[in-house]
């Protein structure tokens, strides 16, 4: 096992797949010579050359459209959208074209591509560079959606996404790029559609994603030590496909569901999980479902303001203590 940062795990995942398969190509803005604005793709140009690692103009529709056309005709492109907020300028290509072509053509067209993008708050970038938009993607039939929380998952899920024959959107958490963690040596390929139980408790099941997984784990420690509340923490990892088997089992075990979401309140991914639990696990519940989310507002930028919008460790602890005790 080697310790890698989350950002190095991105490059390691892409490199592993480019080495394995000549059809894998990588394109985006500032990704080649500059190594990405988050330095997550440093070294790929040197390793694989300008034919396979390509800098693009600021043309998100062209980037994703070109990735789609290439994927339809035999390549396995990885396209970077610098900030997930920018998906809004090329959402037609994602939601109307990439996601629907296989279905509309009755299976004639396949679009095996990966879109990677930096998602989430914590960098004081304001409302157009800090959003968590994984729920936008989750609601479109035809795209798979993952959001890794740990370096090993970054590498493994990127690899799984590249090998998948469907389009996969990988939401990387920009405030986790410098987070370090163990990554298995040698080839590492994960599986889409699998949640992971990171900690098991008796009183409450916290279901979280990406940065919120780290906060949920920290909150669970405090809840255990200071309040005697013992929590299970499930890292959802993959929104589509969704591992409802694991989530249902872990909620049934404790009788309580808490979702911790960085997306704004309305139609966040936790709402879908709450609905599934209410439908299929109602009689196992010991109390109401709790959703902890960012309020339904555009994100403000100042330290003090941003820290008081996205769910913090303190807020997770407070809400669980108030609502469960």
């Amino acid at each position: 096992m080697a310790e890698l940062t989350y950002r190095d795990a991105v490059a390691a995942g892409i490199a592993q797949e480019m080495k394995r398969d000549e059809r894998v190509v990588f394109l985006g803005e500032d990704v080649a010579h500059a190594g990405g604005v988050f330095k997550a793709t440093v070294g790929l140009l040197d390793q694989f050359g300008p034919k396979r690692v390509r800098d693009c103009p600021i043309s998100e529709q062209a980037i994703l459209g070109a990735a789609m056309g290439a994927a339809m005709t035999g390549l396995r492109p990885i396209a970077e959208i610098m900030f997930s907020d920018f998906l809004a300028v090329c959402w037609d290509i994602v939601a109307n074209e990439i996601a629907k072509s296989r279905y509309m053509t009755n299976g004639q067209v396949q679009v095996p591509l990966v879109i990677r993008t930096a998602n989430g708050a914590g960098s004081r970038f304001g409302a157009q560079h800090s959003q968590s938009v994984e729920n936008w993607a989750m609601m479109i039939p035809g795209i798979k959606v993952v959001a890794p929380a740990f370096p090993a998952d970054v590498k493994g899920l990127i690899a799984a996404a590249v090998r998948d024959d469907d389009p996969v959107l990988v939401f990387e958490q920009k405030s986790l790029y410098s987070f370090k963690g163990e990554v298995p040596d040698g080839e590492h390929v994960d599986e889409l559609g699998k949640a992971r139980v990171l900690r098991q408790g008796k009183d409450c099941t916290i279901v979280a994603l990406a940065l919120m997984v780290h906060r949920a784990l920290a909150a669970a420690e405090i809840l255990e030590k200071e309040h005697g509340i013992s929590c299970t923490v499930v890292d959802v990892r993959s929104l589509v496909p969704l591992d409802t088997v694991t989530i249902l089992a872990e909620v049934a075990r404790t009788g309580r569901l808490v979702t911790v979401e960085e997306n704004p309140r309305l139609c966040g991914w936790g709402a879908e999980i709450a609905s599934i639990i209410a439908d299929e696990c109602f009689w196992e519940l010991d109390g109401p479902i709790i959703r902890i989310t960012t309020p339904h507002i555009p994100l403000p930028s100042a330290d003090q303001l941003e820290d008081n919008t996205i769910p913090s460790v303190e807020r997770i602890v407070r809400e669980i203590v108030e609502k469960i005790d």
């Binding site: 529709q61 789609m68 037609d92 009755n106 067209v109 589509v240 591992d243 599934i276």
Partner: protein
């Protein structure tokens, strides 16, 4: 001055296009015309639902490219795509069946008029969001360039598309990467219901923008199948040899409204009549006769194509509605629609 002798009327056999290709162009234009007219008739009989955007009057462009392209080249077209899909060799019963929502439809009834696709023939899709397919065609061209296959992507769109961002993104991208892609603007003078001249800063919505991307200005008579064929062949071959993209503006006119819902009342009096005089099939028939092809040959082709359309209509009518199983098929590569375990 050239001192080559003036061509005689029998030149159809030996000029740069030649008799065989001309007959192919004639036949293909007729196929597109008669099949499209049949689609309109089937609407009136309420056998085709939804919307539909006919290419009546614009057949020379699709036919010329259909003949000029290599079988493994790719077509990307718009929701006005019946002609472009047929021109690559997609079956008429598959097209009419799709419009009628039948099992035999090209897409099993899941796409409809605006999404006709036949990947086996290189018809890579009809795209119903203006501009979306220009970058997609560029991507296919990139794939051909990367793999060294010498395939060319051809992307058809209307004059209205030249005012959307994806048009400009795709052109710049394709030129910078020197991709083997041909962008073909079918300028039929109207973006939906509004004259293109009323909403566009330049006279030629595509060709006058070419210089901004370092491309040459190409305006061609889109109702002249020979001129279209020459233009298509020239730029396809250039792209195939690594010469990069071209942007072609083909001047044409649609004989019907924008879509099924549009009677085209906004057109000034006499305009349609003027363009009917320049009907591409009428022009071409006259030219073939002038070039010495006997009328019986053309009559035979007309009879054969009508029979083909009639047969396709009967096949489509006889086909069952799609099975309900199809609703949950082909969302994902595993053939299914499951989003959870």
């Amino acid at each position: 001055m050239s001192n080559t002798p003036k061509r005689k009327k029998s030149a159809a056999a030996d000029d740069d296009i030649g008799r065989d290709i001309r007959l192919e162009l004639f036949r293909l234009q007729l196929e597109l015309r008669l099949c499209e007219k049949r689609a309109y008739d089937l609407f009136l009989q309420n056998l085709i639902k939804g919307t539909s955007h006919l290419s009546l009057g614009q057949e020379a462009i699709a036919a010329a490219f259909g003949v000029a392209m290599r079988p493994d080249d790719w077509t990307f077209c718009t929701y006005r795509g019946h002609a472009h899909t047929l021109a690559r060799g997609a079956s008429m019963s598959g097209v009419l069946g799709e419009l009628m929502g039948r099992e035999c439809g090209l897409l099993g009834g899941k796409g409809g008029s605006m999404h006709l696709t036949d990947v086996s023939k290189g018809a890579m899709g009809s795209y119903a969001i203006i501009g979306a397919h220009l970058p997609v065609a560029a991507g296919a061209a990139w794939s051909a360039q990367y793999r060294g296959t010498e395939q060319v992507a051809v992307c058809f769109f209307g004059d209205g598309t030249t005012n959307i961002g994806a048009f400009h993104e795709a052109l710049n991208f394709s030129v910078v990467w020197k991709l083997p892609v041909i962008f073909v603007c079918e300028n039929n003078l109207y973006m939906e219901y509004t004259p293109i001249s009323a909403v566009t800063a330049v006279e030629h919505p595509a060709a006058d923008r070419a210089a901004a991307y370092g491309l040459e200005k190409i305006v061609v008579d889109g109702n002249d199948a020979d001129e279209m064929y020459r233009t298509a062949s020239k730029y396809i071959e250039r792209a195939r040899r690594g010469g990069g993209p071209a942007l072609i503006e083909a001047m044409t006119y649609r004989h019907s409204g924008h879509s099924r819902a549009d009677p085209g009342k906004y057109r000034p009096e006499g305009e349609l009549e003027k363009w009917l005089e320049r009907d591409p099939i009428k022009i071409y028939r006259e030219r073939l006769l002038e070039l010495g092809i006997v009328e019986a040959t053309l009559n035979d082709i007309e009879g054969e194509v009508m029979q083909q359309v009639n047969d396709a209509t009967e096949t489509a009518k006889a086909s069952a509605p799609p099975s309900l199983d199809g609703i949950y098929r082909h969302v994902w590569a595993d053939g299914g629609a499951a989003w959870r375990n």
